[in-house]
Point group: C2
Chain length 221, copies 2
Amino acid sequence: MEVSVSQENYLKTILKLERSEGIASNQAIAQNLDSTPAAVTGMLRKLCEEGLVEYEAYQGAKLTQVGEQHALSTVRKHRLWEVFLVEKLNFRWDTVHQLAEELEHIGNEDFVNRLAEFLGNPLFDPHGDPIPDAAGNIRERVDVVFSSEAEAGTMFVVCGVSDSSDEFLRHLNRLGIELGSKYHAVERFEFDGSMEWSNNQGARILISSGVSEKILIQVHA
Amino acid sequence: MEVSVSQENYLKTILKLERSEGIASNQAIAQNLDSTPAAVTGMLRKLCEEGLVEYEAYQGAKLTQVGEQHALSTVRKHRLWEVFLVEKLNFRWDTVHQLAEELEHIGNEDFVNRLAEFLGNPLFDPHGDPIPDAAGNIRERVDVVFSSEAEAGTMFVVCGVSDSSDEFLRHLNRLGIELGSKYHAVERFEFDGSMEWSNNQGARILISSGVSEKILIQVHA
DNA sequence: ATCAATTTTTAGTCTGGCTAAAATATTTTT
DNA sequence: AAAAATATTTTAGCCAGACTAAAAATTGAT
């Protein structure tokens, strides 16, 4: 029962949609994979035959147990490789996605587990996304909110982003924001929702609402 | 100019044959890749069009400069991954070939060079095969001969194998022979070419001619 | 010059995934 | 509840990449 690269990408997408929407519609899958609904129907049939998704015509798709395990394993590999690339090979966090996208399709469970072990079984990837453990469990973070919710006057630490696109990450790079950066929310301008932050050297930056809504933070006690 | 996985395997094979036979015949390529001469002809045409091999009908194939660089880069990746798998992930040397075969097709020059750097720019892989540097140079070993040539009475160290198949490496594992193992050539039996070796604990093993002809050694001064 | 071995051509197969357009279901609106 | 809008599926076929089997052509050796 070999799962192709394309199939693994479908499984990952369905997992994501199932978590965010409850069910993966044909159209949403097509959009995510830059494909068409007709193509999706064909693939869902195959995945259903192989026992990876539950699928009835017109009812959208859900992963089976087996399918979900497989998808989680792929996500695990992807995020572990990102850790490897950033921590061991000194890649910047905004340049690792594509490479990890290729590496995630290689090897078996044993291989992934050894990689995880080698990396010290990290819990989060360089974008702050949680890494499923060998059994597929994801420890969701608590006390994490979008930076747009930060009250003026609070201190916080950047712990993730909800958009890992190259463009967004490069923008954060230009702003000097990275995982673990600490800031003080100086003020929110109700006019357009933008915010002013200051770092521990006192330098101030202006953050647009679009950006602050994509940055995950943990507020300091 | 994208080079497919299959094409990279052709380039690797042609490189190997060119080094051992001077030119890569259609038939030899087919044998190596477990394919047929007709299929090889088709692929050679494509590789020729893409400027990766020099090819004239009925005359066999040779790599161009570009093709050779590409092949060497693939070999470099393969061998570096083997080092990674054995040294960092604790795989046994007889279990890494298949995985490296998949990993070798991923990523660009920058990626490989960072991997090499991370591994300390090793010169040999876990089977004793030399790793090309970033420019494609291979430092060939000197004073290396097949163990079948060892004179009775000499001491030597195992530094490579000419057959990296799973079966052969597993056999060496059962015999307790690995890279860096030191032995004393006790005697060669002219009857069938088999040899008796002893290690530094005095334990003796019998090596068939078939095996001794695939083990590379360096004789101690 | 002929024959054996090798290589190429021809013609077609197979897989995996895709598309476009038509047909069918479902959902929403009124 | 019927009509309209939306979403999904079917149909039919394309396309790339790599392969095969058998026939034809070429080469090289004697």
